[in-house]
Amino acid sequence: MDDLYRENILDHYKNPIYKGTLEPADLSFEDENPLCGDHLRIDLRVDEKGNVTDARFSGHGCAISQASADLLLESIIGKNIEDLKKLTKEDILDLLGIEELGPVRLKCALLSLKVLKGSLYGIGQKDEDL
């Protein structure tokens, strides 16, 4: 089958590890993909040094956006938020194990990064800044 729907992605979609919310959270942000109505919220707990101690995502969307969120949160636990600000589109594609993605589905894959950066900066990120 298709690269896009490999076991790994389907597994993170069907059985996400980081799905849920954190109440209270230190940082929280939500946004959506207007093309398909996917909606994502990310909650983070951060210690005094700026390291991520816990993370959760909630919302709804396609397998790509949901798996991307789960994989992204898995990868950021223990990392410093200053390092997270440097994450790029390529980092997300690496996590998903995908080399190329069409422009429409790329937005699905990058929604989690957009929301994560929104939570770090407190504002929405334009796609071209990612």
Binding site: D2, L4, Y5, L10, C36, G37, D38, A63, R105
Partner: protein
Amino acid sequence: MDEKQIIQDFPIFSQLDRNGKTLCYLDSAATTQKPLSVLEAMDTYYKTYNANIHRGVYHISELATEAHETTREKVRAWIHARSTTEIIFTRNTTESINLVAYSWGRKNLNAGDHIILTEMEHHSNLVPWQILAEEKGVELDFIPITDAGELDLEVYRQLLEKHPKLVCATGMSNVMGTIPPSKEMISAAHAAGALFLLDGAQMVPHMQVNIRDLDADFFAFSAHKMLGPTGIGVLYGKESLLEAMPPFLGGGDMIKRVHLRSFSANDLPYKFEAGTPAIAEAIGFGAAIDYLAQIGMDAVFEHESEITRYAIHELMKIPGLKIIGPLTSSNRGSAVSFTLDYVHPHDVAQILDRENICVRAGHHCAMPLHERCNVDASTRASFYIYNSLTDVDRLIDGLKIVHQLFGQD
């Protein structure tokens, strides 16, 4: 209908994808494929008589003008309008509706006036009225959708008691395929003193339309959903209304005389056609009408009904699949939208794409309708003259692959 001949008339269907599969195109509600005759008509114009229209006194400009205006006459005859003065070329349905909102709406509507819309409108028949409502303080009322995907006409009758100035509704839902009883709704609007704008984007490509019989005051549709090119659409308006409306866009062609500080507007329909129009597209549009005329719209509707009936029957066998809209197969259009409870429409469309099957995934420019149905997005298959029952079989086989990947069994 000669299915084999029709397929051969569309060059795109002779192409194979990288896996050797033919194109299974199920997104005609978004835009249709184009037959060779349409492409050749446009090509011939550019190659042999390309010139601007309405001004040149030289031969090829006259030829171009004649070809452009011949399409206007074909459109008039196609929808049975009284006169070509009532046929205005625009870019598309969206621009046609905006023209009415900006020109007629700004002149005739005031704070507190009511416009009736429906919950099943395409964004193109919602947002222009929202903009107008914001600017002028006009109130928008909505005819709700019943659980069966029909308009609630009882509520419509109640809303008409508020004496609205205008009713705007689709003649066929682009999501659910619902065909509201337009003629009855138009006559009820007139009885209440309201004008009626009918969105014909999904209607004109699929069924016979007699606008004089329907008696709509404004009627909008696009060429590209009926085998023609993108970039050209139509606004029909009753002549007396169009005469009284101020121009929409200003510029060349829409004027009779221009002074430094004033102008006088051209006669209908040119008054609403500023600037060089889509000439090649008008010529291609004419060829598209000829193509459909040769098949006959009753045959088109019957062909689509047969496929839609089969599609609904087969789709309903799939576990977890829910069709949005009417399940009846009579008196409905060929757009069939559905959800699968275990997978997002984007993933469905992506997996079908691997099989070279094109469906639409998302909200199909009808977010309020999806909100009403409590779904974020849906997958839509829509059928046209070049589709066959085999396309439905390919869709169902594709959905079985989706089930293998995403099904929770």
